[in-house]
């Protein structure tokens, strides 16, 4: 595990990443509209799950309320677009929305971090859940936020591409940016510090790791990236209400995707998102009423059978074989 911090990224790894990227860029020109919509979701929610992992993937600070930032971003962009009126073109509005959402979420997360990051474990998780619920209720209750009736966002049109292709490429950009940031954080001192916080926070602080600063940084970065995902999602839907963005299942899906794929890994959230979206929307496409039953069953199964996710399962296989022979004592 410790080797991961200073191991060089090899030429083969660069090559593999480049190949995957090229395939992903070419995908919108060969795939059907339905397939592309699925890929869109994998990229967006995988990317947001990766943003969640900046804090939750390394430490025990598992936010159960990242929909708070997702929704805050979406609402910021929506209200801004409405305030700007029809005189300004869609792409400009999108860019302004992204900038403002990032700014507002930066401020909100920085202020919230102070009290919230003092809580640990389940208390942190539930405080975030409450934060998401408060923001959702506020957006619904106060008329100026229009949460219950929602608002329409202008369609973004790029010549030569249809809307699904356009947003696919935007989500791809978002995912790639998140991957770059995640890899950078993971390989830096911050990532090592956060991993130490995850193993034993008090000991880490005692050894001189600036735990508070690293947690704050990861929390704020995670919030800002999540809000950017929210803005893009809002524009891709073109119409949002409180119930489309401040959804408890968005918060939980982020955790689920990370868990299924492998916590704290780069590819994990995307693998998890791909598997879960494939199962719930393709395999169970005609059985929407079983959606939650299957999601719940997979969640339970993963936690019990493979707590380190698919990636962890691959790494753990030799250990499992050894345990099967009964030579390992139970701890």
């Amino acid at each position: 595990m410790m080797g991961a911090f200073n191991k060089r990224i090899t030429g083969w790894e660069w090559l593999g990443a480049a190949a995957v990227l090229i395939l992903l860029v070419l995908l919108p020109f060969v795939a059907s509209s339905f397939q592309l919509r699925l890929a869109q979701q994998v990229l967006l929610f995988g990317g947001v799950a990766l943003a969640w992992s900046l804090l939750g993937g390394f430490t025990q600070y598992w936010s159960f309320g990242h929909a708070a930032f997702f929704g805050l971003g979406a609402f910021t962009a929506g209200l801004l677009a409405q305030a700007l009126g029809h005189g300004i073109s869609g792409p400009v509005k999108l860019l302004l929305g992204l900038a403002l959402a990032a700014l507002i979420n930066f401020a909100v997360a920085a202020v919230m971090a102070m009290p919230v990051l003092r809580l640990r474990g389940t208390y942190f998780a539930i405080a975030m859940l409450a934060l998401a619920q408060v923001l959702g209720e506020v957006s619904k209750t106060f008329d100026i936020f229009q949460g219950s009736m929602g608002f329409v966002l202008q369609r973004i049109a790029v010549p030569g591409l249809n809307s699904v292709q356009t947003f696919y490429l935007l989500f791809l950009l978002f995912a790639v940016a998140n991957v770059a940031i995640f890899v950078w954080v993971k390989r830096s001192r911050i990532g090592m510090g956060l991993t130490c916080v995850g193993q034993d926070e008090d000991t880490a602080a005692m050894l001189g790791i600036p735990t508070e600063r690293y947690k704050l940084l990861a929390f704020v970065l995670s919030a800002v990236l999540t809000s950017i995902g929210g803005v893009l999602y809002a524009y891709s839907l073109a119409f949002i209400t409180t119930d489309t963005v401040f959804r408890i299942d968005i918060s939980l899906n982020l955790i689920l995707f990370s868990m299924v794929g492998g916590l704290g890994t780069v590819a994990g959230p995307f693998i998890g998102a791909a598997i879960m979206i494939f199962i719930t929307q393709v395999v169970l496409g005609g059985l929407l009423h079983l959606h939650f039953l299957v999601t719940g069953a997979i969640l339970v199964f993963i936690v019990i059978a493979a707590p380190t996710g698919i990636i962890g399962l691959r790494n753990r296989l030799p250990g499992l074989a050894r345990r099967a022979t009964g030579s390992e004592a139970r701890t």
Binding site: L119, G121, Y123, A130, V134, E137, I255, G296, A297, L299
Partner: protein, 294 residues
Amino acid sequence: MNGVILAQTLVDGLILGGIFALSAAGFSLIFGVLGIINLAHGIFVLIGAYIGLAIGRETGIDPLAALPITVIVLYVGGYLLQRTLVAAAVRRGSLMSSLLITFGISLMLRDLILLAFGPNVQTLSSSWLLPTLHWGSVLIDGARATGLIASLVLLGLLSFLLYRTKLGRAMRATAQEDFAAGLCGIDVDNVYASTFGLSAAFAGASGIIIGLINPFVPSDDNYWTLNAFVVVVLGGVGSPMGALLGGLLLGAISTFSSQYVGSLYPNVFIFGTLFLMLILRPNGLLGSAYKGSV
């Protein structure tokens, strides 16, 4: 006139609070003894209400008479659930995995309720309700008063169980120090499962009472889970008294904010209170900081 509104709001708040307290007592118990947050708690509450509904439909038994059956069914269900899934999660790893497990269970159970009963709004009605009372110009709704009395009786029963029986003593010992309790010959695994079963049973009982007062739908479970959490955070973990205090406070917050601020605002106030309490005093008003917020 203002005095009457104030008195009425207070009475409504306290009655609602008593019922909130019962719905949260089981949640508090699991939190205190097992140290885990049971995100499936709200669904246990709903299952109680739906079992009452199903028994009423099939046999015509009054929901309040069906309460013991509900309690037994949920006790057994909760016991088995803990023995199989939840215990495995707790043994597997962090307490966070128990959050995920219980959330997964709640998703599955909610879907099962949807399949069995459909998404429609349901209500329970009982012929054993007290008549509506007029006390001066303050009105005391009969259904709510019945619910309050049933809640207080059940909370008393829980207190008796915890402080006067052998199982209760074993549970309190396990809550304090599970390892030492095991050394003293207590079957800790069994205590854990019994606690879970008991918690589910009390949640189910509160579900029937809630069903008598409010209409319910399968997607209400998040509301009841969060409500239970607010009650526990307000009152403190593990004791029926804490749950009662937290419940009464939550009831008062809920009715006062809808009376004096606006009927849409109670949720904002409830979750706002939860958030503030977590930050200012995460162990609850009656709780001690001994175990810490870890």
